[in-house]
Symmetry: C2
Subunit: 192 residues, 2 copies
Amino acid sequence: MSPESRREQLLELGTQLLSTRTLEELSIEVLAEEAGISRGLLYHYFGNKQEFHVAVVRRAVEQLVAITAPRDIADPLEQLAVSIGAYLDYVVENHTGYVSLVRAAAGGNEEVRTIYEEGRRALIDRIFEINGPEQLAQLGIEDSPGLRLMVDGWGAMTESVILAWIEDPHGLSREDLLHRLAVALPAIALAR
Amino acid sequence: MSPESRREQLLELGTQLLSTRTLEELSIEVLAEEAGISRGLLYHYFGNKQEFHVAVVRRAVEQLVAITAPRDIADPLEQLAVSIGAYLDYVVENHTGYVSLVRAAAGGNEEVRTIYEEGRRALIDRIFEINGPEQLAQLGIEDSPGLRLMVDGWGAMTESVILAWIEDPHGLSREDLLHRLAVALPAIALAR
DNA sequence: ACCGCTGTTGAACGAGCGTCAATAGCGTTG
DNA sequence: CAACGCTATTGACGCTCGTTCAACAGCGGT
């Protein structure tokens, strides 16, 4: 089999297996057996277990960032809600896999964490790009260092709330949730 | 050595070692060597590696909850800021250990996660206990199911922001940060 | 002095990661 | 067509580490 397709196959398989197991439990042993190859071959494509894990996580994060690319909408608040909605939908559809990803990112090694954080950063930065300075001003937000800290916090909150909402919606509809999260951003940014 | 003191010694040592290593890297091997005992003895006190990890995490969480017990202050917003401050101080002082705890909780198994989440729940619930309904109303907050979701999210945000602030304060003083986080709670709760 | 309890050990087993020399298949070249 | 080389692939080996278990040692009670 050609190098690229084999590599692709292994990464794809690894991503799938992540739905059932933790990243830690995603052993070379299981993967090799599942792929019908010898353990040794994995070391031909990925130097070691960690490198393989990193490759799987990178793939998953890229997928997430690509899929949730926001559309162009006039009203900033609605734009924001739609962006969060795309993210929400992704999380709902890939729930088990996404949970594994988040846990892997939080508990994993330096490299895995960095990749995940860069993904999160990309998602958040899009808000500041898509909504230009004028639109941000329209929300009452102006970019500043201290603000960044809080906006990143809002990102963590959003991630957490969405995961909790999937477990138990607490009587909130999808639209309610999106609106709450959207208005929370300017609320956090403005509150002093 | 007596059972209790030995158990205590091992847990204490485990907690210390957590400053240097991940929970996953906190091996039976290292612990036994560091404690000057045989590996086998650990299985006399803790059934297996996981149980030991659980015991260490439980200990750390209990410590956190106990130390950050809030004082009684009239002004609800200041009360809140003081509570967050106690938490912040704990995180600053036990930084490496706390980071290990958070990562262990996020990446760990079911049991470890549950213990951590119960700890977080206890911290947040205190806000609703200490600040009685009247004081909460004074902040414009009334307890409701959908609100709980957002308040838990605020908890996640607080945790995240504090860890980020320690890495890089972004020009915010401790007081600035506490105030921002404190006002963020009613802001999130009120925003619709 | 004997007995039993229990804290403690060390050896042994198995799972899983990582290494490496050897092989097999295939395209290239003389 | 045969020899060659490249590389995907294998299988066996060694090592670390979690886990088990039979044996021992010290000590209090009878």
